[in-house]
């Protein structure tokens, strides 16, 4: 690996409208809980720079950087048609559903199907149950079914809360680490 190298990874954040994708990203980037976030239209774009000295990714040398691009896709179905236009080059996906709305997990089957057709190469995917500070209305069995049927890694499921910050950093660090290791191996 070159000294002082900078790496770039692209992560797509997917899931139904109002599951809290933008709030999750904002918590990750600024460690703040934003209330009243407006619905995303089309796509929002965020970046985060991780340095080797941050010790988040052990494989990243001290003088190296990892630029993480986060593409926050609109959850509304009417905008799904333009999804192919942003998905090129995606190296990891965060599939988000809302603890309080079981239908958002069901809808993730469609999301995953669409994403598989757009990104044919196997890429790391993380399943995220948002708003875990609220009472869950989703049976664990349904989540296990999703993980099994969509052939996800069981370890790649996280319960998060943007309100109190539970697992937010850990989730993003995990996907960044997994993608980076894949890149490193190539």
């Amino acid at each position: 690996m070159k000294s002082g190298a900078a790496y770039l990874i692209k992560i797509l954040v997917a899931g139904e409208s109002a599951v809290g994708k933008t709030t999750l990203i904002q918590r990750y980037l600024s460690n703040k809980f934003l209330v009243g976030t407006k619905s995303t239209i089309g796509i929002d774009f965020f970046t985060k720079k991780i340095s080797g000295t941050d010790e988040i990714i052990p494989e990243l040398n001290e003088n190296e950087f990892l630029h993480i691009q986060l593409w926050d896709a609109s959850g509304e179905e009417k905008f799904r048609e333009v999804l192919p236009l942003y998905s090129a080059g995606t190296q990891g996906v965060l599939l988000c559903f809302d603890s309080t709305r079981p239908e958002t997990l069901q809808k993730l089957y469609e999301w995953d199907e669409v994403l598989n057709s757009l990104i044919p190469d196997p890429i790391p995917k993380i399943l995220i149950q948002t708003k875990c500070d609220l009472d869950s209305r989703i049976e664990q069995e349904l989540i296990n079914d999703f993980i099994r049927e969509r052939k996800l890694n069981e370890a790649n499921f996280f319960l998060t809360s943007s309100k109190n910050g539970t697992n937010v950093q850990k989730t993003f660090n995990e996907i960044a680490k997994t993608i980076f290791i894949q890149l490193h191996e190539i």
Binding site: K38, T40, I41, G42, T47, E81
Partner: protein, 330 residues
């Protein structure tokens, strides 16, 4: 040809989703087919399709439009409008179906996001450059809130923008990017409108294909708009501006004019051309350079004080006379 000067078409591949203005079906079909063709050829030559076409107003007095604005996203969705600044405002007063408006809006947002992301990724070490360009465009469209909420330090969100705002933002971005961030090496090509190439200079992907492409573009502009192209911008995620200077039978197409006209080899090649070509292109080149130099002067002079300008005005005739003498000596 169309008789209306303000029109717009929104298409998904070859399917027309919506149109604005009194357009014949033939015009719509031809325009959409040609957009797809232009996109395919542009993708082959420049990596992406045509983004906007400025037409040569001098070539026809009763021209129906002076500028054609195109937004294409992923070679799938196309939005094309004549005289964009007026047409966009007219569209704003139309009752567009909500689903269409949202779709067009999301496409424009997607394109702007791609443009920003691409610029941010490429400008490593100078990340503020993209922010400055976008902020300038936002100011130009009269955005009154804090521009940093829209774009800053590798983050952008255009969700708060309506369709008209997004169209105007794209229009400004094109202008700014083409002028300040041209993603191309300097090159020039002189060809017959029917194809043969008389001069090729600089690094270009494929001169023969390019000449053929521009010839088809000439035909399209004549057929549909009764005019010739004056300048073009290709791209989506990044923008490549291209100027076209028209003679009767020949055209000169070039990028990065500022570098080219400073290049001795280019000027030497230009002077070696057949007399007939020089005669035809001499006047358009003069007009082109006069326009560019005036624009540069204007930009500079706008930063001067009133007293400086009055002094300059008094000295101008003498200065121009000397400049004229000097250039004749050369």
């Amino acid at each position: 040809m169309t008789s209306t000067s303000n029109w717009a078409i929104f298409a998904k591949e070859t399917e027309v989703m919506w149109h604005f203005g009194d357009l014949s079906q033939e015009f719509i079909d031809n325009t959409v087919n040609f957009l797809n063709g232009l996109d395919a050829m542009g993708t082959e030559l420049f990596g992406s399709g045509v983004a906007s076409i400025t037409l040569d107003q001098k070539s026809n007095q009763v021209i129906s439009a002076s500028e054609i604005f195109v937004v294409s996203l992923g070679s799938t969705f196309f939005f094309i409008a004549s005289d964009p600044l007026i047409t966009m405002r007219l569209i704003y007063h139309e009752n567009l179906p909500d689903i269409l408006e949202d779709q067009m809006r999301s496409i424009l947002i997607g394109q702007a996001t791609n443009l920003y992301a691409n610029l941010y990724t490429e400008s490593s070490g100078n990340e503020g450059q993209g922010d400055d360009l976008f902020w300038t465009a936002l100011y130009e469209i009269g955005y009154v809130k804090d521009v940093k909420n829209v774009v800053e330090k590798g983050r952008c969100s255009f969700s708060e923008f309506g369709l008209l705002d997004m169209m105007l933002l794209h229009y400004q971005l094109r202008k700014i990017f083409a002028e300040k961030y041209p993603k191309t090496e300097p090159w020039a090509i002189i060809a017959d409108e029917s194809g043969p190439i008389h001069l090729k200079f600089g690094k270009m992907t494929n001169a023969t294909s390019l000449a053929g492409y521009l010839s088809v573009l000439f035909m399209f502009c004549k057929e549909l708009f009764n005019s010739s192209p004056k300048s073009l911008v290709f791209g989506g995620d990044s923008l490549i501006p291209l100027e076209v200077l028209n003679g009767d039978d020949f055209f000169l197409s070039l990028t990065r004019w500022d570098t080219l006209f400073n290049d001795k080899n280019f000027l030497k090649n230009l002077n070696k051309l057949d007399r007939k070509i020089i005669d035809q292109l001499g006047f358009p080149i003069t007009q082109f350079l006069a326009e560019k130099l005036s624009a540069m002067m204007q930009k500079e002079l706008k930063n001067w004080s009133m007293n400086q300008l009055i002094t300059a005005y008094k000295k101008l005739p003498k200065y121009l006379e000397n400049l004229n003498k000097e250039s004749k000596k050369r």
